[in-house]
């Protein structure tokens, strides 16, 4: 009874407050509302007061709306845990245990089947839900969600924010069309570019053929609808945005392309070096970019809009550090030396190692920088070894260093192991002479070749008559994965084509097994999908295989 009274008093005060208080501008509501929703901070900057089990205070910056309802506010189903949408468009509709318009399609269901029916919210009942945890049927949600103490004005901002959240489809989504683009940095090896494009264009064409078939044949349309829902009738477009000149000039070109044709997302993209300006462009315009083919992704814990395959070249260095960490007790006080080719790649490998090694509290390795153009001779390497007597020698250089490493083999105080980048060695890795194979270890950021061959079955269909030999097999596999992840995500989005929901959806996906990487995994806010790297050695014999010396993800 007392409880009901509280709620009705609250409603009364809100009714008046919501009507009386003037609200800030739409842009300001967006900014302040987003801060409450995502960071748990009030417009005043103070932490939102949150309570669980009705009266136990908790940290409002930990129990943020976004942590449960995700950025798009479009709801999630993860195993048993169902979080309903919290955007105005859906809240202000009655909830039925089916999706409007898809009543007879059992495959098209969503969170609504897991929660009781309720009438549409009003501003007042929504305020009651947020502040008291009571839904419009009088049911308490406090078992599942905190309640928040907000003054009337802050509540009004919160509600206005929820009303705008995922309200309109994102730019690039038209009636029955979703527009994509891919970014090509001029000067990239043409084979690499074609290898990136082929699988993307294949996915787009396949989708469009299906839409056309569905348009022509009602039976196909019905089946398509059962499988894909709304998505079935959409066609996709894929524009190619080519960037020329130095990176400083890319931003203006991107803005220009985007002004002419707003796209929902970027797919792939390729650059022989820099990517940062594209990354920034996506961040600032809130445009997703799925899996650009780049060696030097922007490394950030908080950036949102670019999803990378991995942390790039530096990830190999990080893996080397984790591998050596496992035998740190045996290395003891002996030195680790990094011989670093002074190029972007060499430095990225060394940075990755340095960061990983120091994060586990070890004495830093000794760095020896090799000028970009200076050959690494056997004498030079022997000198380095004689000078520092390292337990481990990291050689961050290309395969031209192999003879110099070979010269160490007979040296009495040679290091216990030499570690190099299998990626950088390229084909030459297979030419490591037998006596060296025991000494040299390689980082290998992919599935082992003999095990990846099984995926040819699925990948080869994209060649459709073209010769696979004309393409870069790794880039084809990367881009193939982009098409698969996109297809899977769009299917699960149930007609809600919002950019933030794309990432919310990908964040809910389980680990996946696609070509090239041993495993790709996602998770809310995770932006580097392949988290592992093997340490391998070349086996014995004339036709050696790579042998794993580590797991994919080392703890």
């Amino acid at each position: 009874m007392k409880f009901l009274l509280t709620v009705s008093l609250l409603l009364l005060s809100l009714t008046t407050a919501l009507a009386a208080e003037p609200l800030p501008s739409a842009a300001e509501i967006q900014r302040l509302g987003e801060r409450m929703y995502r960071d748990g901070l009030l417009p005043s900057g103070a932490v939102m007061k949150a309570f669980v089990s009705d009266d136990v205070p908790v940290d409002g910056t930990a129990f943020t709306c976004v942590s449960c309802h995700l950025r798009s506010g479009l709801g999630s189903i993860e195993g048993e845990v169902v979080t309903p949408p919290t955007n105005g468009r859906i809240l202000y509709q009655e909830r039925k245990p089916y999706v409007q318009g898809a009543i007879h399609v059992p495959l098209i269901h969503n969170y609504a089947v897991y929660l009781p029916e309720r009438p549409a919210y009003t501003d007042q009942t929504l305020a009651a839900l947020i502040s008291a945890g009571i839904d419009p049927t009088g049911r308490s949600v406090l078992k599942a969600m905190p309640r928040y103490e907000l003054d009337d004005r802050d509540m009004a901002i919160m509600i206005a924010y929820l009303k705008a959240l995922s309200d309109q489809p994102s730019p690039g989504v038209g009636e029955h069309v979703i527009r994509f683009a891919t970014v090509i940095v001029a000067g990239t090896d043409p084979v690499a570019v074609e290898s990136m494009l082929l699988p993307l264009q294949f996915s787009v064409d396949r989708k469009n053929r299906l839409a056309a078939a569905a348009g022509a044949n009602p039976r196909v349309a019905r089946m398509g609808y059962n499988m894909l829902g709304d998505l079935q009738s959409y066609t996709f477009t894929l524009a190619r945005w080519t960037l020329t000149g130095p990176p400083e000039g890319w931003r203006a070109q991107l803005d220009d392309y985007y002004r002419k044709e707003p796209v929902f997302a970027l797919l792939g993209g390729i650059s022989p070096g820099d990517w940062e300006p594209v990354h920034r462009f996506c961040e600032e315009n809130r445009i997703p970019d799925l899996f650009p083919v780049v060696d030097y992704p922007v490394i950030s814990d908080s950036d949102w809009y670019t999803l990378y395959f991995s942390r790039g070249i530096r990830q190999e260095g990080e893996a080397a550090a984790r591998y050596l960490h496992g035998m740190a007790d045996l290395i003891k006080d002996r030195a680790i030396v990094q011989v670093i080719r002074d190029t972007r790649r060499g430095r990225a490998l060394a940075d990755g190692f340095r960061a990983g090694w120091q994060a586990t509290g070890h004495t830093p390795a000794i760095d020896v920088l090799l000028p970009a153009a200076e050959a690494l001779t056997g004498e030079r390497l022997q000198q380095i070894v004689a000078g520092h007597k390292p337990a481990v020698l990291l050689v961050w250089d290309d395969a031209a260093s192999l003879p110099a490493i070979g010269a160490l083999a007979g040296q009495p105080d040679r290091p216990g192991l030499v570690l190099a980048s299998g990626n950088w060695f390229g084909q030459a890795l297979w030419t490591v002479p037998e006596p060296l194979r025991e000494l040299v270890y390689f980082t290998w950021p992919w599935r082992l070749p003999q095990e990846d061959a099984r995926f040819d079955i699925s990948v080869n269909k994209i060649f459709a008559g073209k010769s696979p030999a004309a393409y870069d097999p790794r880039i084809v596999r990367q881009s193939y994965t982009t098409g698969e992840v996109l297809g899977k995500a769009l299917m699960e989005m149930r007609g809600e084509y919002h950019r933030d929901f794309l990432y919310d959806t990908i964040g809910m996906m389980t680990d996946m097994y696609y070509p090239l990487y041993e495993r790709v995994s996602f998770g809310p806010g995770q932006r580097y999908a392949a988290k592992g790297c093997f340490i391998v050695q070349l086996g014995k014999g004339e036709k050696p295989q790579l042998e794993r010396r580590s797991e994919w993800v080392m703890q």
Binding site: L210, G326, R454, F455, S458, N460, M512, Y513, R549
Partner: protein, 138 residues
């Protein structure tokens, strides 16, 4: 009959849009059979070298896990059949560490992986193969 064929092609088209398993169309030149292991446990055996048992145990974890397969890597490409052929086999391998000698005993279940030609033609069967494989995972 003709209609059926047409329909099933459409199904394949639909399914291949985004589902993570992919029906197989082309034959490949993979070997027809392969053995793989899923490692359940491991031990370090200093084999008289005086290697420290704790460090050895940790390193054998990495060494043995490196020999272990993630069965999904075998199932996801589709078109393969997995048969368990032995349980808890003990495999002794050299530790292979430059700073410490001794052996690792990796205890593993052994599986035979075999091309399943039927499932290459009928994607539905490969779905069944997936179910079987998820039983393995449990």
């Amino acid at each position: 009959m003709v209609v059926l064929n047409k329909l099933s092609r459409t199904t394949v088209l639909l399914l291949s849009l985004g589902l993570s398993w992919s029906p197989a169309f082309a034959a490949s030149n993979d070997p027809a059979e392969e053995i793989f292991h899923i490692v359940n446990d491991y031990r370090y055996d200093p084999a008289g070298t005086g290697g420290d048992p704790d460090t050895g145990h940790t390193l054998c974890g990495t060494r043995c896990n490196a020999l272990s397969a993630d069965y999904l890597n075998y199932m996801e490409p589709g078109g393969w059949e997995i048969l368990k052929v032995a349980a808890d086999v003990e495999m002794t391998v050299p530790l292979n560490n430059p700073f410490m000698k001794g052996n690792c005993i990796c205890i593993a279940d052994e599986y035979l992986l075999r091309i399943d030609d039927l499932s290459r033609v009928h994607p539905v069967k490969s779905e069944r193969a997936r179910e079987r494989s998820s039983e393995i995972a449990r």
